[in-house]
Amino acid sequence: MGKAVAIIGVGQTNHGRRMDVSYPDLVREAVLRVYEETGLSPNDVDGVVSGTMPSMMEGVALTHFYFADAMASAGKPILKTETCGSTGVSLAHTAYYWISSGMADLVLAVGHEKMTEGDSQATMTTVVEPWYQRYFIAGAPGVFSMQSQMWSVRYGLDEKKVRDAAAYISVTHHDSAFDNPYAHVKIRVTAEDVKNARVITYPVRLLDVCPNSDGACAVIFASEEMVKKLGLKKVAWVKGLGYRGEEYFFGDSDKAVWQSAVQAAKQAYDMAGIKDPRKELDVAEVYNPFTFQEMLFYECFGFCGLGEAPDLVLQGTFGRKGELPCDPSGGTLCTNPIGATGLIRTAEAALQVMEKAGDHQIPGAKLAFSHAMGGVDQFNGVMIVGSER
């Protein structure tokens, strides 16, 4: 085990369709905010790590060079971490490894995406295998629709119940987004609106899907020595992390009981000493671009048994006042600048245990789970943070 690592500050842009700023200026908005929040300056930082989805998203390759100025990284070690949709959590992992190894005391992690400038689904389709699969796998919704079917068929779940639970998730997350000043989509929706929205890829309808967002998130990680030196009282200690990938070909591995999600969570739980996640965790930021998939994640993460998620969702178990509130920020469903999104999950988890989440604060949250997934249903990453060292 390496040295202890804490998150000491978070900066987010106002996410949304941000045609009022260039991409570098957007990135700098998040970086300025994290320095303002922590009272630190770029001179204090030992290294910078940044990441996005594929470069085709915005048409500029190697964005960590593009943003050297916006991240004030000149003269410092710089890394890029890129794991598709899970990039953000991988950025948090990279910063953790860097400090935990003893090679740095302060690391700036920056995730960013400006999705409205390109064609996001065309970009994502370039992730897909070019000879056999690209003709049939249409961006993210196509893949995740199939996954949600595998799951509901596996457990013989009642179609109407699953539909109702998905609508419940959509309505409550859209409501929560109003309490998050940085969230993108802020609309009130009813269960009927969700169930009658246009089909994107059956069973996924328009209000079951995340938006294309522009946004960036900057997080500063610190060693224990640095936390003491700066005299910080409220920080988010990294308690556990886990990451797993699967085979490349879509179709080679089971996605209903998604082993990369199961194993990534298990690794993080083992490190954090968590035995019963639903009881021990106070809040979770699950990467949820699709309502149906969120339920599958609850099961893979052991928040409930396999096939149980729809019932518990409808009972409010994962609502803001439930036993384990999930995505009180409104989650990925309401805000998805992909390269930033996973880091936003970790940042939101950190804000919760630092009691800085504002109107979407879960009272007394001490242990928080964050997660992101990526690839063609290929990768899952988890980071758990807590208020206690």
Partner: protein
């Protein structure tokens, strides 16, 4: 503050020529002859389709070629009804995961052979677990679209 800011329109087009290598050259030659090849891993005994140079789980070369049945069972499907730049298949279409008989992984292709224009009608026809069969193109080019689609078996 609703001020409009300027934008620039730009485009990147790059040509590629991707090498199939020996395994996939043979697989696609098989397709042009209406044959679907899989490979069997001698360690885990799984039959992988399309054929592979090596088993991704055991990380050993696969040596045994098998001709895979052209009928299978529908694992999952996705009715795609949206468009994006450069989309190779025109929507609406149904992407599908199909477990071909005697294989151990799902093969990705299209479902077709019926009217796709009305989703509600499609939903009555397509069921997870239904039997499907490959329908070949008359003119074949050693390409994945040498199979036009998999059609439901009555």
């Amino acid at each position: 503050m609703n001020k409009e800011f300027k934008t620039i329109k730009t485009e990147i087009r790059l040509p590629y020529e991707l090498a199939y290598g020996a395994t996939w050259t043979r697989f696609f030659e098989g397709m042009s002859n209406q044959i679907l090849y899989g490979s069997k891993c001698e360690k885990c005994n799984r039959v992988l389709v399309p054929a592979r140079t090596f088993c991704p789980r055991c990380f050993i070369d696969t040596k045994e070629w098998v001709e895979v049945p052209q009928q299978g069972t529908l694992t999952a499907w996705s009715y795609v009804n949206y468009r994006y730049f450069g989309q190779p298949t025109t929507p609406p279409f149904i992407g599908a995961l199909i477990r071909l008989d005697g294989t151990d992984v799902d093969f990705v292709h299209l479902l077709g052979g019926f009217d796709l224009s009305d989703f509600e009608k499609v939903r009555k026809i397509v069921k997870n677990g239904m039997r499907v069969e490959a329908v070949w193109a008359n003119e074949r080019k050693a390409h994945i679209m040498d199979i036009r689609y998999f059609k439901p078996l009555a």
